[in-house]
Amino acid sequence: MPDQPAHATETADSADPAKPHPARPREPLQVTINGKPYFHDGDPAMPLLWFLRDTLRLTGSKFGCGIGNCGACTVLLDGKAMRACVLPMSVAATHQVTTIEGLEGDALHPVQQAWIEEDVAQCGYCQAGQVMAAVDLLKRKPKPSDDDIASIGNLCRCGTYPRIRKAILRAAELMQGERK
């Protein structure tokens, strides 16, 4: 790599988060993603989304806004829906991360199944995030009300909301069946 400043500017600047983090040896962070451990020795402020996408090539989590607004990057952190584009690696490291790629067990997750059956996707770009948000919702509310469903704030530019509603209700039924 050309002109790498290497360790030259270490001391004074490194406490200031607005300044670039100079490359220096640091304890690599260990993150658990879909049950497997990974190491990250880069910038601990790097959002999880870029580690997933650029480093691990787990590209199911999408980039839509980068400010935690749209939900395209939604992953589960200890089972709770979180926006990976604003989640620093240093925080992610202390939790279990599940991405859309890790949702499927031996079979599709009931939410994925319901999404296919209700033919939700149009462009499909937001849908991984929508599915993750729905998984989180159904864990908290196995029988969600209309308002519970509408509490999912993920954007869909294609306007698939009515089918998302149907798919969540269908998934709730499928999961009800599984529990019996």
Binding site: P2, T9, K62, C65, W115, I116, A121, C123, C156
Partner: protein, 753 residues
């Protein structure tokens, strides 16, 4: 083995056998039919070179290539359905693969082995209705001939079903078993007969998105998901001023960021020059990964030159548009029928109103981007595209490479809406890759996207109508002052100035005896482009709101007034896209059904308001109705009804999705969205100031009714949007007696209430 078949004057089918023994049927367009009598081997390598269009594997798996750009409109499903139908296979046997861009050189010039691959104007299905069904039918014909030979039976006695040829005595042969011998058969010299609609087994059946499983498991790959081993990630800091330029920059801090590799300046277009490259000047940061590139970009210190539009603001544009309309001089006549002045003199009643529509951004959920690799003698682009042909031309022009050496791969795209008809992001990627001497993965952020778009034009519509003694509309003028859609177009393209803003033959042209349409150009530095149902979303709000105002002013029923204006069912000339005819009966029918479905005219005492509108878009007929109420500062949409006639629905589940999505896009846009400009800069940055509708604000459902039709299909991607905004504004009036004449609706309504 290769052979050819004339399949109409301008196309021929090409049939070949792959090394693996698969039957391959492709389509290509030629400027003229190939010279008769020339043996296929002498036609050159192009024919044997054809990629798969229909491939029948020997194990009877059917692979169908999807040629279109999938941007959410469903063509990766609907186009292969057309092929599969005529091939006569079970949909469950079919595996769909995305085809790349199929450029080929021919004696007659550039051509495409797959036909038209762009996504614009909702034409994919209507185009495929012709050539893709032919491709399927020809393959089936060959398979039947092969079976006839095998069995020594006349082909007429054989039939096909679910991927097998059947003899009258019950013998069967699978397509897979016949593929090799079928490919050796001389192709038909006449176009093969297509199925009659009664025989359809796939067309018309609700069919789910073929790659839904990939989507919900995260395996689906969009443009942004493509990587190349040695590619650097690039982000660009673009000049925020319209037609501004880079004065100077300091990248010292940027280069200190771990992972940043290089920083290069990118030149934008000169003021007034065509937009056939990047949209703006900028500084590109190249890095090993996205985060480093973004961090590096934040640390750039840049001085910009403001450019010639530094005084431009939305307020001034609106004032200018109104001033042009007030002065009413020097406009471009778009249509002139009868004598409006006379009608006005004789009128019992005159109604006038002005409506304002804002600039809009496309805000595709997946921002623009591109992965490009440029080598000495070839190039490779992978991206979410709507115009792969345009991308190929762009790369050829910028690199000097021959188009046949440029590989263009389309992925599933995270939305299009017209944004990807432009290839400015491809041009940027080329420039950065050339400067870096490395493959480049160009990333756009949402801020980049909202700030640097080809915006839907801004404009003001001034409408007036005269009513005679019998309350019939006797005269109509539509004057539109807008930032013209044609603006600095690449490739020396010239279109009439009113293109995309005011259409000569749109409703009620041809239905009112005395009618004038005039266009006034408002100068602006904002780049303009095509935005989903461009012309129609731009003006249907004005026309269909105005009809309601006429009805109210003359104490008529708004549905009956529309029906009276449409008159007897008949076809009248329509020169715009979607013509050559406009069927008044089909528009009346969707309107009537929509009115019935929402309960139009029923007495209500719940304070809810109902509004309705209808519109003809690109050959499709749509009506919308909404039931709304205002609670505090909230607008509640209790019901949303959409009735559509797009001819035969190839995939009703897909058409329903497009109408549902189009309705919600229409609501989202009409309620809240506008791009504004101040001091030559776009003011919106990310979703918080360009607030797309979320689930909580959207109607719970959209009640979609698809009119059964035997008419040839048109697409469905754009027809669901234009009548939404006026139906909504009409419903708001019904609920509040407040007439909103400016979009977006919510801020205006809150101001007026």
């Amino acid at each position: 083995m290769t052979a050819r078949v004339d399949a109409g004057r301008r196309r021929f089918l090409a049939i070949s056998l792959t090394a693996a023994g698969a039957l391959v049927v492709g389509i290509r367009r030629a400027n003229a039919a190939p010279t008769p009598g020339v043996p296929p081997e002498l036609l050159g390598d192009d024919l044997t070179d054809l990629g798969p269009f229909v491939r029948i594997e020997r194990d009877n798996r059917i692979v169908i290539g999807a040629r279109g750009c999938e941007i959410g409109q469903g063509v990766i499903t609907s186009l292969p359905m057309l092929v599969a139908e005529e091939l006569d296979v079970d949909w469950a046997q079919v595996r769909v693969v995305q085809l790349p861009y199929g450029y080929i050189d021919t004696d007659q010039g550039p051509s495409n082995r797959y036909g038209d691959q762009g996504a614009g104007g909702s034409t994919s299905v209507s185009d495929g209705w012709k050539d893709l069904r032919e491709a399927g039918a020809t393959a089936r014909w060959l398979l039947v001939q092969a079976a006839a030979k095998e069995w020594g039976l006349p082909a007429e006695q054989l039939r096909t079903e679910a991927g097998e040829v059947l003899a009258p005595d019950g013998r069967k042969l699978s397509y897979g078993a016949l593929a090799r011998s079928a490919a050796a058969i001389a192709p038909p010299d006449q176009p093969v007969a297509l199925k009659r609609p009664e025989q359809f087994r796939i067309i018309g059946k609700p069919t789910r998105v073929v790659d839904a499983r990939e989507i919900v498991t995260g395996r689906s790959r969009f443009g942004i998901d493509e990587y190349a081993a040695d590619a650097l990630v690039a982000v660009i800091l673009r000049c925020p001023y319209l037609d501004g330029a880079l004065e100077s920059f300091d990248d010292a801090e940027t280069r200190k960021v771990a992972g940043v590799v290089d920083v290069v300046a990118i030149a934008g277009p000169k003021p007034g020059e065509p937009f056939d490259g990047p949209l703006a000047s900028g500084v590109a940061v190249l890095a090993e990964h996205t985060w480093a590139a973004l961090r590096g970009r934040e640390l750039l210190k840049v001085q910009w030159k403001q450019g010639p539009w530094s005084g431009e603001s939305s307020g001034a544009l609106a004032a200018r548009a109104n001033e042009l309309l007030d002065r009413n001089e020097g406009g471009t006549g778009v249509r002139h029928d009868g004598d409006y002045a006379k009608a006005r003199k004789q009128a019992r009643n005159v109604v006038e109103a002005r409506y304002e529509v804002p600039f809009l951004a496309h805000a595709t959920m997946e921002p623009p981007g591109a992965l490009i690799e440029i080598k000495q003698d070839s190039a490779r682009l992978v991206a979410s595209l709507q115009s792969p042909g345009g991308a190929s031309e762009m790369i050829a022009r910028m690199t000097g490479l021959a188009r046949k050496d440029i590989e263009v791969r389309m992925t599933r795209a995270g939305g299009g809406f017209g944004r990807r008809l432009e290839n400015d992001f491809v041009a940027e990627a080329v420039l950065v890759a050339k400067a870096a001497g490395k493959p480049v993965k160009l990333m756009w952020t949402r801020e980049d996207d909202l700030q640097h778009d080809f915006y839907r034009p801004f404009g003001v519509h001034a409408l007036s109508a005269t009513l005679d003694r019998r309350k019939q509309v006797s005269g109509w003028t539509h004057r539109c002052a807008a930032t013209p859609r044609p603006y600095r177009e690449g490739g020396g393209r010239k279109r009439p100035i009113n293109t995309g803003c005011l259409e000569a033959d749109d409703f009620p042209a041809g239905l009112v005896a005395n009618l004038d349409k005039t266009f006034f150009a408002v100068e602006s530095g904002m780049p303009r482009g095509w935005w989903r149902a461009p012309l129609h979303t731009f003006h249907a709000f004005a026309v269909q709101s105005f009809i309601d105002e006429i009805a109210i002013a003359s104490k008529q029923d708004a549905v009956k007034l529309r029906l009276a204006m449409l008159g007897e069912p008949r076809k009248i000339p329509y020169s715009g896209h979607g013509g050559p005819q406009f069927d008044t009966g089909r528009l009346a029918e969707v309107l009537r059904r929509c009115a019935a479905k929402i309960g139009w005219g029923e007495r209500r005492d719940d304070g809810h308001g109902i509004g309705i509108a209808c519109h003809f878009t690109f050959g499709g007929y749509t009506a919308h109705a909404f039931e709304v109420s205002i609670e505090g500062r909230e607008l509640r949409i209790h019901r949303a009804v959409c009735v559509v006639d797009v001819g035969r629905a190839v995939n009703p589940l897909g058409v329903e999705a497009q109408m549902m999505g189009g309705t919600i896009d229409g609501l989202s846009t009409a309620l809240h969205l506008a791009i504004t400009v101040k001091e030559g800069q776009v003011q919106q940055h990310n979703f918080p100031d360009y607030p797309l509708l979320r689930m909580a604000q959207a109607p719970r459902g959209v009640e979609v009714e698809i009119v059964a039709s035997d008419a040839d299909p048109v697409g469905a991607g754009e027809m669901g949007v234009p009548s939404v905004a006026p139906a909504l504004a009409n419903a708001v009036y019904a609920a509040t007696t407040v007439r909103v004449r400016k979009l977006p609706l919510m801020p205006e309504l809150m101001r007026m209430l």
